[in-house]
Structures are given as C-alpha cells and as structure tokens.
Amino acid sequence: MTLHATPVAETAATGPVPTIETVGLTRLYGQNAALDHVSLRFMPGEVHVLFGENGAGKSTLISMISGANAPSSGQILLKGQPVRFDSVRMARANGVRAVFQEFSLVPDLTVAQNITLGEEPALGPRAFGLANVLAKSAARNEARRLIEELGFDLNPDAKVSTLTRGKQQMVEICKAMRVRPDLLILDEPTASLSEHDSQALFALIRRLTAAGTAIIYVTHRMHEIPLIGHRLSVLRDGQFVATVPADTPEDRLIELMTGRNMAKIYPQPRADLGEVKLRLDNVTLTPRQGVEPVRDVSLTVRAGEIVGIAGLVGCGKGNLAQACFGLHRVAEGTIEVSGRAIQPRHPSDAIKAGLWYSPADRKNDGLALDQSAHKNMILSGLSFGPSRGEFLRPRRDARRLAELVRMVEFDANRMGEPVSRFSGGNQQKILLAKALVQDVEVYVFDEPTVGVDIGACLSIYRCLATLSARGAAILLVSSNLPELMGLTHRMLVMSQGRLVAEFDRADYDEHKILEQFF
C-alpha cells in the first residue's frame, strides 16, 4: 500500500487531550470483524469526518462510542481516562451524544415532548395535576428556546408524525443538543435536510466547535467535507486506512475509500437501440390520499435504452414508477409492455407481462431483513424466473444466483447471512440481484443508489449498463442528477405530476435541467 496524502501535524503528543480516543477498538460478528483494531483521536473543537463505503465500519465505530454497542476488544478513552459505556444513557451522562440516521423519535408525541423525552423538566413536590401542567409548559418553553437558539424552523407543538423527514432530523439534533455534549456524533445529518436547514446545521456546528465541542461527522456527500470538516479518517472493510486533511481532493478520497483507481465513474451508454419496450400513453393516476397526482404522462423506453426521470421530491415520479407495477390505479391512459397493453392489479400481473419494479425503500418494501441474502434474491424467481416451480431446488438455484451475484459484485461467500447484517450498499446489491432473477425485459428502478456509498454505486452503475447492453429497457427514477446525467440516454423532467421537459444526452446541461424542476 502506498499513500501520498499530505501529512497533518500530530497534535496529541504536546497538544490538548483528545475528547475521545479509541485504542484498538474491535467488534466481531461471528468470525467477521465489522471493526478491526481501529485507533483514532477525536480532538476538542474539531470536526472529524468519518469516510468510507457502507460496511466499512463507520456505523459500528460510532455505535460503540455512543454506547449502543459493546466492543469485542479495545478501549475507549474519555479525556484520557479509560471508560466503558454499557448503555447509550451512560454515554450521554458522560457528554457523548449521537444523532443516528434511524430516528429515535416517538411519532405520536409533539416536537417539544420528544426533545425533552427521558429527561423531562423535574417536577416539584406538588400536587400531581398542577405539577403536570407546569412541567408541560416548562418543556415547551425549553424546546422553543432550544429551537430558536439552533436557528431551526420548527413548531414545538407539532406532532412528530406530521413532519417531513428533514424536520424530524432537526428534532433529533435538538434532542442531542439539549445538554451541551462534549462529543456530538452526526450520522449523515444532511441526508434529508434542505439546503437552508443544512446551512443552519453547519452554522451550528461551527459555533459548537468554537466552544470546544468535538464532532464526529459521517457523510457520503463529498462536497460537504471541505466546508465543514477539519480532519478526515477513512475506513475500509472494518480497518483504518488513513487520516488526511479535510481539503484532500475528492478523487484521492475515493481512491482511499475503495482502494481502487477511479478511471471512470459512469459506463458509456450503448449506441444502438431496439424497438419500443415500454410505452405510457396519457397516463393519469386515480387521485388518492398519499399519492402525488400524476397527470397525462406519455413516454417510451426502447430496448437497450436507459431513460431517466428527474424531479423534486413530491413531483410524482415515484408514484408513476409504482403505477407501472400495479401499485396505483390508472384512471386514464394505457401502459404497454412489449407491445401489449397491461392493467396490473397486483405486482405479479406486471412481472408476468415482463416488467419489474425495484422499490426505493429497501428496508420496508424491498427485503426481508431476517432472511438470508439467498432467500431474498430468489424469492420472485420461484414464481417467474427460470427457477420457477412448486418445489425448490436450492442447488440449481444457487448456481443461477452465482452468476447474478457476480454481475452485481456481491460477495458470494455471504449468501447465507441474514440481510440485516449487511451494509446499505450490499443490501442494495441484494435488491438489484432480486431484479435479475426473472425473465423480464423492462426494469423500473426507483432510487437504486439511495444512501449507498460510492463503491457500491459504481457496482450498481456497471450492472445497469450490463442490463442495457443485454437489451433491457430501463426506466430510472432518481433524485441524483449527476447519476441520471451519467447513465441515461434521455432524461424526462417531472414537475407537479406532469412531464415538463425532455433532454437528449447531447443536450444535458445541469442548469437547464434544474430550471425545469420548478
């Protein structure tokens, strides 16, 4: 291994004591080390970015520092003293707070109640009824003060279940900030925040570091790193790779993260296209609660072609994709697959007709987390693929799956492990393999790379290119504009339920496309 990053001055020998230091921290799951002897120092007043692919060990590391998970071996030093956090509560009492991607909010309580949950303002030794009222208003005032201080746009009396994910993220951060922590862990905090709220968060982070708080910041958004970070540590396969300054160039970071040289991110789309495989004619969806309106959509996708649908969250692009699969009622218009009109009432109708839809929410809609990768991958193939049949033939299926597993670049030795043990990137690969087990010619992918690290993204891109090279027609719905621009032949922009613009690959221009979003 040769690494050429710029050296960073070593502070520990003479400088201040690290807020948290890990020494040889290791976590084993069975024989696999999710984290393998990682020693890092998190200094006061420093934003320390953790960077790595999904499954590199970032989540494991922060879960142990925050007390959610116990190390198999190794030590955590808090301001130089060895500590053992047996619970999240204990870590909190020692000034370590974490904001995870999975929220710990109670949906039916208000923002204020959630913020003060578990550490409600103390009740006086009064009659209960009166004391309750007092405590409630105290909680609300405290929450309001906190929200104002942090500069968020939140209503303390709103029920958490009515908020968007971005707002819920802010509630989580408020919760963590209620007691000033010495170490704040932020796990992809901006993943669901708007630009405005991200800026508010960055301002907050700068104020905190100025006051000496140490911050561990996990992100996949590379453009944020130089804006907010000081130092950055790269993890790969559970092992520590390097610590570099946060302004290290992006391609260098990708190399460190993946251990590979990134020649090209996006494969070249294939040039020759076949006949039309998917045709939507004036499709309008039946209005229903929770379904964004989709009106009068017409599009075609040819064999070998990748057509992208871009648009803001809530523009209806996800619902349009689901409608092709029979998940929403089509009020008007027709959907044709390979020249035959279909009216799917259940996903199985659509698969039979030759169309597969890969959902955006892999945990709720895509995979059975308790079951093995093998069982998840083969599931629909048992009814629709070459593996179909009333009786199972696991050995034959395993041979078939081995091919797909190579195609999605998944580790074939881990086919028997339950999906819950895998990182987001690997789960997404399982979902992708699931799409490949049946004989269909039209694929609709809804956000196939959401929450996935760059290494897994690249595998998924290569796989989509292979599918297209084999003559599949692909409709790609994504919120990631660079990805759409890199992969697709044509791009359609959706806004408020209608297709408003179409771009050919030759005319791709980020600004022109973005203009059509609004």
Binding site: T2, V8, D36, N376, E390
Partner: protein, 334 residues
C-alpha cells in the same frame, strides 16, 4: 508507506470469545440447554424419569400437542397467531363424535361409514374455522390476536351449545381401536400420524414454493407483495392448515378418550405457542423450523411429566408451562 500520519496496522485476528459466541447464538442454544437442564433435574429427582417406559409415555402423550404446534408454527411463520386452536380441537371432538354416534346408531352394521363421516366432519370443522380466521385477518385486516381470540370464544360457544355440556358417547368402537390405541408394526398409530405430519410440515416449509412464500409473507409482507407473491391466499392457507392440524389432533384425542369432550383443548393455545416460541419461532413472523418445534413440544411434555413424577400436582404444571414460555421469551428477545 510515506506521508500519512497514521496507517493501519493489522494484528493477528482474534478469535471471538466462547461466551460471545454463546450470547450471539442464544436463540439457537436456548432449547437444547433447557432440554439438558430438564433432563438433569428430573432424572435426579425421580429414578422413574429416565426409564424407557416413561420416555415412551412422554413421546406418546406429546403427539396431540405436537400436531397442534405444527399448525401454530405454520401460522406464526406467516406472521400470525392462532388462539382458537383449543376451541377448534374441542369443536372437532364434539362434532365428529355426534356425527359418528348418530350415523352408527342409525346403521350399526357399517361402522366404517360412521367413522369416515366423523373424520370428514372433523376436518371440515377445522378447515372452516381456519378459513374464517384467515379471511378475517387478511381481507378484513383484523389483528390476528384479536381475530383468533374472538373466534376462540365463538367456536367454544358453539361447542358447548351443540354438546349441551356433556361428553358425547356412541362413536363406533373401531374409532378408538384404530386411532386411539391401534398399532402398526408395534408403533402406535397416533405417533405414526404425527411423524408423517412432521415430515410433511418440514417438507412443505423447506422445500416448496408455498413454504418460501410463507416465510416471505411473514418476514416482510410488503416486500413479498412487491416480489409478485400474493400474500393474501398464502396467509389464508396458513390458517386453514393450522385449523386442519387442530382438527386432526382433535380426532386423535377423541379416539383416545372414547368420547367427544368440550373442554379437551383448553390448554392447547398457550402450550402450542410456548412450544413454538421456545423453538425459536419469531412472534413477528418469518422464522421457525418444524424439527425445532418437535423438540420444543417434547420439552414441555418432559417438564410436565417430570413434575408429575415429583408429585407436585396439576397446578404447578400450569405454572411451569407459563414460566418456560416467559423464560424463553426473555432469552430469545432481540
């Protein structure tokens, strides 16, 4: 290796500790551990416990619970629960006895016809109860716990109503001779039936598409639907299988007792769920194995038998069964 502040060093891979591995696999180890503990305690407490005669006895007694527990397993894998198995057994017992008694009385020369009619009615009862449960849970979207609890009361009421609160006698003696005490090549027929059902359940769950669809429906119903699995018929089928298993147990029990009894199934819902849960079947669905349930059933019967031999009485047995259930839940919770 120049330039970077710190580079990874990789010491020899440590093997995970013995205890760590035990804790990680505790849901798999809980059952054999409890088995060994039970065997140890009871064989020390009573020298009659570890005899061939006694163990054969335990195996024979476990047949009825085993069959019901297999049905319960199928429903639980699909993410459901069936609290109506006890009432189902009771109704099967009473209804089949009444049909057999009536037909046998009308036509004493053809006991076979009476016997088959009784069996057919019993199975039909089980399937019907299962079908209603399944339709309620899937099409009406009623929580399985409430649906089957309600059905349990309904079915038990029907049982008491048609039986009038008395045991039903008058089935052809053939019934008891074959299905109660009959033997083929020295093996009791109820045990052979149970063994066949274990094999069938194992095969269905592990080697058929229906089995996979059932695990998928219980593991993540939404994901199963999006994979083209029609989960509604799969789950209805699970309740019908469970109902049919309960009625088979009911028919065998009736043959053993020689009469149709309304209160024969009272303890079965709890015991069958306990047998599943201590075998690692998830209450959330998607997990569980037929062979483990055989072990779980045997454990419950062993404990009851051991307590019997220690002469602690029937009340303590009920306490023990509930205690095992709670203990198992505490161990396997995740």
């Amino acid at each position: 290796m120049s330039g970077d502040v710190s580079l990874s060093t990789r010491p020899a891979q440590a093997t995970p500790g013995f205890w760590a591995r035990i804790v990680e696999n505790r849901d798999l180890l809980a059952l054999p551990a409890m088995f060994i503990i039970a065997l140890l305690i009871f064989s020390l407490a009573s020298d009659k416990f570890l005899t061939t005669g006694n163990l054969t006895n335990v195996a024979r007694q476990s047949v009825y619970l085993l069959i019901v527990a297999l049905g319960q397993l199928v429903v639980m894998i699909g993410g459901g629960l069936d609290l109506s198995v006890g009432s189902n057994v009771s109704l099967t017992s009473v209804a089949s006895s009444m049909v057999m008694a009536a037909i046998f009385a009308a036509n004493p020369n053809d006991p076979w016809f009476a016997l088959w009619s009784g069996l057919a009615v019993g199975m039909a009862v089980g399937l019907a109860v299962g079908l209603v449960n399944g339709l309620g849970v899937t099409l009406l979207g009623i929580n399985p716990f409430m649906m089957t609890l309600g059905m349990s009361s309904v079915v038990f009421g029907i049982t008491l109503y048609i039986a009038g609160g008395v045991p039903i006698y008058g089935a052809p003696p053939l019934h008891g001779e074959i299905f109660g005490f009959g033997k083929i090549a020295g093996f009791p027929i109820p045990s052979l039936v149970a063994l066949a059902l274990v094999a069938l359940a194992w095969f269905t769950l592990e080697w058929t598409r229906f089995g996979r669809h059932l695990y998928a429906a219980g593991g993540n119903g939404r994901a199963a639907e999006l994979s083209g699995v029609r989960t509604v018929p799969v789950r209805i089928m699970a309740y019908m299988i469970c109902g049919m298993m309960a009625s088979l147990a009911g028919l065998l029990l009736t043959a053993r007792l020689g009469s149709g009894e309304a209160n024969v199934g009272a303890s079965l819902p709890l015991e069958s769920i306990a047998a599943c849960v201590i075998s690692g079947v998830s209450l959330a669905g998607g997990r569980g194995r037929a062979l483990a349930v055989v072990m779980g059933t045997l454990l419950i019967l062993l404990v009851q038998n051991g307590l019997n031999l220690m002469q602690v009485g029937a009340y303590a047995q009920s306490i023990a069964t509930g205690g095992i259930l709670i203990f198992a839940m505490a161990i396997v919770r995740r």
